[in-house]
Amino acid sequence: MASGQQDVEQLVARKYRHGFVTDIESDTVPPGLDESVIRHISLKKGEPEFLLNWRLKAYEHWLTMPEPDWAHVRIAPIDYQAISYYSAPKKNTDGPKSLDEVDPKLLETYDKLGIPLHERARLAGVAVDAVFDSVSVATTFKKKLKEAGVIFCPFSEAVREHPELLEQYLGTVVPTGDNFFAALNSAVFTDGSFVYIPKGVRCPMELSTYFRINAANTGQFERTLIVADEGSHVSYLEGCTAPMRDENQLHAAVVELVALDDAEIKYSTVQNWYPGDENGVGGIYNFVTKRGDCRGRNSKISWTQVETGSAITWKYPSCILRGDNSVGEFYSVALTNHYQQADTGTKMIHLGRNTRSTIVSKGISAGRGQNAYRGLVKILPTAEGARNHTQCDSLLMGSDCGAHTFPYMEIRNPSAVVEHEATTSKISDDQLFYCRQRGISEEDAVNMIVNGFCKEVFRELPMEFAVEAQNLLSVSLEGAVG
């Protein structure tokens, strides 16, 4: 062939593996959004009045907000009245008391996804909460966690069992009116996970939530709140999949993290929502607000994300470094193939003295994918001795894709040290030929090179997830070189 460039341009096309639909009866409210829908959701969930009022306030605020248009993405208008805001698998009782009561079809779904909910078939030492459409279907390892004093339960259960904790922390990191999608989520969120780690406790296992969109024409609006009390430590993993559908589906989640003095939260995401087909039809709109508050001294919040799915990804897991000596980290791999678009990055807001942040972003663009890094480093006058290091690397495969970097810096303290490095590279024909000359197939060579590019991020992931992330990348890139 005339040039290996053409090889590279062909390297992207295996089928999405999680695109099946579970045939299960569900209780879905008709499409549309008004106050009555919100009251309906709140009633279904048996929520206390403060929460209903909180939702209604968010809804009122949302009505006044324009949809944001500053991201580097092209998006068809979303008809918010065409979405159903609540869908739950139908079941006899209010909720399963144990795994035995969970619909076998749901368990089968999670087995297909490789997420065994049966504790006996568990991933070693990982407790899983699974959210199917709008409700949480099962949380494993409850007993063991309870012994450690750790609360890990569906959000709707926390509403009933721990309303005082919710009232204290909900919306304190991402206020109801924070942004358009956060406001929408606050009004209509249906379930999610709640985690509380008591003082001085090191959570005895990795916690994990698996999100699954199944029903058609629904949105998924889950809410996760993690509170790490003084001196505690937790590692939390999140995975996401959805069936293949021709229409776009909206996923607008909110995640709030609170770390008190000397506490540490490590939050890892492997996002594999349905990305749409190779012509850009269908796929999930992934508009997520994630923010961590390092509220206490010496606290640490670390975000690691591997974003391979979704038609459009729009998220900026951020850290507010309020406590003195607190540490924020953001490690990201975002891959866009075919017509996928990603506008992702982070915000590091330095308020406390000697606060430190690290940003490592790896963007991979293939096909006609568009990948933007957007990041803000803000050092306030109070943040004496703050430091930031940012590294943004882009890898391009083929000539029809794009990589964009939008770094913003606001430095208002002269003692700050802020560094920014950025590179853009291509997988070269010479690299591919070198590997092939050593006996390695072209596809394996591409995977090897891409994984090498992402290494700094993958090593931040817990072991099981690191393997999954590598596999996911190779699946997402299959066919990108032919």
Binding site: D7, D429, R438, G439, D444
Partner: protein, 251 residues
């Protein structure tokens, strides 16, 4: 082992090899010498299957197979190894990881079991001693930040681990100081065997002081214009290439 007949090849718009003929028998070491631009590296590249080179005529038979019909990775698995003139850097990919993947791809092709990390490391460490390389090589990125000499040494290390039947070394001596040259030559010499053939592409006869070839060929204008023994290299050292170039034109 290798039979090249009337091979013509081009790079982009330029015809480089013009009906080149070469026979390499089992266990033989052939040196290909010639002035810059004579087609030495193109010949090495065509044998390895460089995608940007186009074969326009002739045939290459390797152990009874049509080499030109095979993909680069297939050739490698069948025992063809190219030591690159300019080994490429692959950031973040571990040197030893690439080598293990390569060895296991070749073993799998041969129907042998894949080696685990321990078995593999034992082999690599032994070969590294031969090349006087320290353990830090194992964990660095492929050629990442390597000096010119380190890159060449790494190429020969890979050859020592992969144990090819036909090794093509493209200017493996260029850019080496005399100490590094000795190490590389020593490594290559230790790999000489009755089952292994080698083609050494070189600009200078210096390398041949250390690796003594069975045959020396002079490549000029895309053809082999003179074949001889080791003494031909010495003659070239003394007289340069011009007298042969002129002879080629006259022929």
């Amino acid at each position: 082992m290798l039979s090249i007949k009337n091979l013509s090849a081009r790079a982009g718009e330029h015809d480089i090899l013009k009906e080149l003929n070469l026979e390499v028998g089992e266990g033989e070491v052939h040196a290909i010498m010639g002035p810059n631009g004579s087609g030495k590296s193109t010949l090495a590249g065509v044998l390895a299957g460089r995608p940007d080179l186009e074969v326009t005529g002739g045939s290459v038979t390797y152990r009874g197979h049509d080499l030109l019909a095979m993909d680069p990775e297939e050739r490698a698995r069948e025992g063809v190894f190219l030591a690159f003139q300019y080994p490429v850097e692959i950031p973040g990919v571990n040197n030893v990881y690439l080598l293990k993947a390569a060895l296991n791809a070749i073993r799998k092709h041969r129907g042998e079991s894949e080696l685990d990390a321990f078995e593999f490391l034992a082999i690599v460490k032994e070969r590294m001693k031969l090349m006087q390389m320290d353990d830090s090589f194992l964990n660095r990125g492929v050629n990442e930040g390597f000096s010119g000499g380190e890159k060449k040494r790494n190429e020969v290390l890979q050859m020592a681990v992969l144990e090819p039947a036909l090794a093509v070394l493209d200017e493996t001596d260029s850019g080496l100081d005399i100490d590094a040259l000795k190490v590389v030559a020593n490594g290559v010499n230790s790999l000489r065997s009755p089952e292994r053939s080698m083609v050494l592409v070189t600009h200078y006869q210096r390398l041949l002081d250390y690796i003594v070839p069975d045959f020396v060929h002079v490549l000029s204008g895309g053809q082999i214009v003179r074949t001889g023994g080791r003494e031909l290299a010495l003659e070239l050292e003394e007289r340069g290439y011009d007298w042969l170039r002129a002879g080629a034109d006259a022929a």
